[in-house]
């Protein structure tokens, strides 16, 4: 198990390095001068002196490999550079906002699994029945509502019409745990509408497939109670595809909470990214993209470990 984990970790670290290099190259090799792009507004050519000044400041005048070494060296020390807008260290801002995004994504994942998994199993066991058809229709609808529509309508109903909660925002956990949780639940629940439907669908399909397998019939032939069969011989075997899909979605949520954070004023990493994109703050965009990609790789590493926990064949393979 340990050797397996070490092997996977090495591969993951290699991937992070590749991603970091790729992000660096994309920014530096695409046609167009970042400094010029940054300073040009509304099609008016920027002042050449200002461009030259900015190039100097960003180190764009140095050879590419020097810039690369400097950037990588900085990254190794956790230095993501300074924001172009306010010269604030990017690493600090990321360290502040990242936990909030992770909390949001994690909560959404937990909520989705909490209702998607059992409902998926239930629907599969009653495949073709009324309950199954009702749940499947619901999942089809839930998957079709864009997340910002769910969010906006949630704000409209819960905050505007019913006045149950404020329309969004963020309160640190330490200051007011109850309010923190209430404010977390709205965006997390919003994400969970679609994600839960995904979990439901994958679970249902996987369980249906496992139910057809020989070992389920063999367990029936031993006289094992249906409850035990479902728990030990069906759901467990169906978990692998569910883990895959949930991880994939959580991964794309790392950068995809943009809309929900925007709707609910959740000061996470995504909002920071949108601001950076709007301001064309290259160092910021690079840093955020890099962190999210690294997290994505880390998530895949954790998923590989999880596979090994679920399936002994992976451990030994």
């Amino acid at each position: 198990m340990l050797a397996f984990a070490a092997r996977r970790l090495a591969v993951s670290l290699g991937l992070v390095w590749v991603v970091a290099s790729l992000v660096f190259l994309v920014i530096h090799l695409i046609p167009g001068d970042p400094a010029e792009l940054l300073l040009s507004q509304g099609g008016i050519a920027p002042d050449p002196a200002a461009v030259e000044d900015l190039r100097e400041r960003l180190g764009l005048n140095q050879p590419l490999w020097t810039q690369y070494v400097a950037y990588m060296g900085g990254l190794l020390q956790g230095d993501f550079g300074l924001s172009l807008q306010d010269e604030h260290p990017i690493g600090e801002e990321i360290a502040l906002r990242l936990p909030r995004t992770l909390e949001l994504v994690g909560a959404a994942g937990v909520i989705s699994l909490l209702f998607g998994l059992p409902l998926g199993v239930l629907a599969a066991l009653r495949a073709g029945g009324m309950l199954d058809r009702a749940l499947s229709a619901w999942a089809g609808l839930a998957l079709s509502i864009p997340v910002f529509v769910v969010g906006t309508l949630t704000v409209l109903v819960l905050a505007q019409e019913l006045r149950l909660v404020s329309a969004g925002g963020y309160v640190p956990l330490a200051r007011d745990p109850a309010r923190h949780l209430a404010l977390l639940l709205m965006p997390a629940g919003t994400i969970a509408v679609g994600l839960g439907a995904v979990v439901f669908r994958v679970t249902r399909t996987a369980v249906l497939e496992v139910l057809e397998r020989d070992h389920v019939r063999a367990a029936q032939a031993r006289g094992v109670a249906p409850r035990t069969i479902i728990r030990r011989h069906v759901v467990r075997n169906a978990l692998t595809p569910v883990v895959t899909v949930v991880a994939l979605h959580l991964g794309s949520l790392l950068g995809g909470t943009v809309l929900v954070e925007f709707v609910f004023n959740w000061p996470g990493l995504s909002g920071y990214l949108v601001r950076a994109v709007e301001a064309r703050d290259y160092p910021e965009v690079m840093g955020i993209v890099l962190v999210i990609s690294a997290l994505f790789v880390l998530l895949n590493f954790l998923v590989d470990l999880l596979y090994a926990v679920i399936d002994p064949r992976v451990r030994h393979g």
């Binding site: 089809g140 906006t152 505007q160 020989d214 032939a221 006289g223 794309s252 790392l254 679920i310 002994p312």
Partner: protein, 619 residues
């Protein structure tokens, strides 16, 4: 099947067509200008002039919704078309040429898939600035890898097919092969991917526009309308509602269309479902009288008939099968694939697949307490108490019959725990594993199925089956999936167990007559769902009365046979049974009458039966 699916496509198809037509016809419709402002009437309620009211700049909401469909759909379609063209080309080239081409096309596409989609779109917007052009471009980058992957996988499987290799052999130009032969054949999944992409592109477009990074105002877009309406949510909540409804409705219709389209074009992925898993379908009403008057020995099957539904009505797959089994006796059921022998075995266990329904017959079984029950009519909870205790079964493939994720010891222990053992389970499991000849049973109990060999897995299955000293052991081709040397060991083990458990009856289902000779007392030969001959093993081998049995024996090589191949032809399909004798088309002794009259099962001599018009001549 296909026709039903096509009809199911009609409604979502019509709705998609209606939305697209509405978007195309927007300039022709008598709608107000969607960008003309009328600040005096901002947030006005619905009126005759403005059916859905006016927005925060006094613009007509209905007109903006219709025009918004035009913007959203054209961006989504343009992006999907671009992605489809680029992605499909990359996928086909990569799948057809492999090697370096594959590396620079498909593998690069997979790198793109590693990025969270919205993140990638934002990155492109950073580099190019917002606008409809950027939007189409970034969405195309996002979705092209999906096409590349589908096209690649399909090309890989299609390029090996005969019509492609034939074209290559004929010297057709590569371009012709790729786009005239290959492309049309891999089109269905790509069409499904296309419609999926249009739906996803709409969602992403509206999301980016909602953030203010997509379509640039004042162009009408549903995402922008929702963004705008948020500000005036308190005064005019309906303004928020209309674009939300339009967007969700369109995506829903598109998704529905995709699902149906996939069912029609690409039916492989359709899950069948198995509704009867928990509730055994007891198709027969309980018999009026308790069947205790008969003395069935251990097991007496009487006239078992099984049906499966088919497009042309129910079809009998097992017809009127009867046999008896005494305690301690071994009966072999022999037949080719499709003879109904496995279904007959599963019927005893009450584990028939959901589609198979018993329609007639009785399966009388004498339990431990001497009570006689009809297994076909026993309610599921009582049936479950018998399974694994009085009735046990070993299956054909030990590799798939053990759950790969659960330790061997746990699976064997299930047999014990399911029937009341709570203490000393571990010791019993180890003892059982030792009894079936597993080396190092302590360790084997903690091992996972993949850690032991195929033969050992079958030993584990046998250990679980005999855990509660069953009165009847059903073995369904227990050696077929194993190596020849291992087969002999497993047979020896079963023979040994029979000796140890004196009263245990066994039904041994096989297609291998050589095995029958070694293990069984009596043999039941099945053909096309019917019993064709039955009798003591020695007598049947010495003097078969049915041409089919005779042919089976003749096709038996000296050593162990893997398959019976020497009989010409194949078992007829259940829905195309011959009128007369079911074996007549393949029978070398068939006479005129054999094709016209179905023979009945006759007593040939004491303890022997045969279903042949000419059995007397067979002696």
């Amino acid at each position: 099947m296909r026709r039903i699916s096509l009809r199911s496509l009609a409604l979502p198809g019509a709705l998609v067509a209606a939305i697209v037509l509405l978007a195309i016809a927007a300039p022709l419709l008598p709608l107000p200008d969607p960008v003309r402002q009328d600040v005096a009437n901002r947030l006005a309620r619905p009126s005759l002039m403005h059916w859905l009211g006016q927005d925060e700049y006094g613009r007509d909401v209905l007109s903006r919704i219709v025009w918004g469909a035009r913007v959203s759909l054209s961006v989504a379609f343009a992006a999907a078309l671009m992605a489809a063209a680029v992605g499909t080309l990359a996928g086909i080239l990569g799948g057809y040429f492999r090697g370096m081409v594959e590396l620079v096309t498909v593998r690069v596409a997979e790198v793109v898939l590693c990025f969270p989609p919205l993140l990638l779109a934002l990155l492109v917007v950073t580099l190019m600035g917002p606008g409809a052009g950027t939007l189409v471009f970034s969405l195309a980058i996002l979705f092209a890898p999906g096409f590349a992957r589908v096209a690649y996988a399909e090309t890989l499987s299609a390029r090996a097919l005969d019509y492609v290799t034939a074209q290559e052999a004929l010297g057709a130009r590569t371009g012709r092969i790729l786009f005239r032969t290959l492309l049309p054949n891999i089109a269905p999944p790509l069409i499904v991917q296309f419609s999926l992409t249009v739906a996803s592109a709409m969602v992403l477009e509206s999301g980016l526009s909602f953030l203010g990074l997509g379509v640039v105002p004042p162009s009408p877009s549903w995402g922008l309308m929702i963004r705008g309406a948020r500000a005036s949510m308190e005064q005019a909540p309906l303004l928020l509602f209309w674009p939300c409804l339009a967007l969700t409705g369109t995506v829903l219709v598109l998704n529905l269309f995709c699902d149906r389209l996939r069912d029609v074009l690409d039916p492989r992925g359709k899950a069948a479902g198995r509704p009867g898993f928990l509730r055994r379908l007891v198709a027969l009403p309980p018999a009026a009288a308790r069947p205790a008057s008969v003395t069935p020995g251990l097991l007496a099957m009487e006239g078992l008939t099984l049906e499966v539904p088919s497009p042309a009505g129910p079809v009998q797959v097992v017809r009127d099968v009867s046999f008896q089994l005494a305690p301690g006796e071994t009966l072999a059921i022999v037949g080719e694939s499709g003879s109904g022998k496995t279904l007959t075995g599963l019927a005893v266990m009450g584990l028939l697949p959901a589609a198979v329904r018993p329609t007639a017959g009785r399966i009388l079984f004498t339990g431990r307490d001497g009570q006689v029950v009809d297994l076909l009519r026993l309610p599921e909870p009582e049936m479950r108490r018998l399974r694994g205790r009085d009735l046990a079964m070993i299956f054909q493939d030990p590799s798939s019959s053990l759950n790969p994720l659960v330790r061997i010891g746990t699976q064997v222990a299930e047999s014990l725990r399911a029937h009341g053992t709570t203490r000393g389970t571990r010791e019993r499991v180890v003892a059982l594993l030792r009894q079936v000849g597993l080396p190092d049973p302590e360790r084997a109990a903690d091992a996972y199925p993949h850690e032991v060999s195929g033969g050992q897995r079958q030993r584990v299955m046998i250990a679980a089956a005999i855990a509660n000293h069953p009165r009847l052991l059903l073995a369904d081709e227990p050696t077929t999936a194993l190596d020849v040397t291992v087969q002999a060991q497993i047979l020896a083990l079963l023979a040994e167990l029979k000796r140890a458990e004196g009263a245990m009856g066994m039904v041994f289902i096989t297609h291998n007559l050589a095995v029958v000779n070694k293990i069984a007392d009596r043999v039941l030969v099945m053909y096309a769902g019917e019993v064709v001959e039955e009798g003591p093993v020695a007598e049947i081998f010495a003097a078969p009365r049915h041409p089919y049995t005779r042919a089976l024996i003749a096709s038996m090589p000296e050593g162990d046979a893997e398959r019976l191949t020497a009989i010409p032809g194949a078992v007829p399909q259940p829905w195309a049974m011959p009128v007369g004798c079911r074996f007549a088309p393949r029978c070398d002794a068939a006479a005129e009458a054999c094709h016209a009259t179905a023979p009945v099962l006759e007593d040939v001599s004491p303890g022997r039966r045969a279903r042949c018009l000419r059995w007397k001549e067979m002696a």
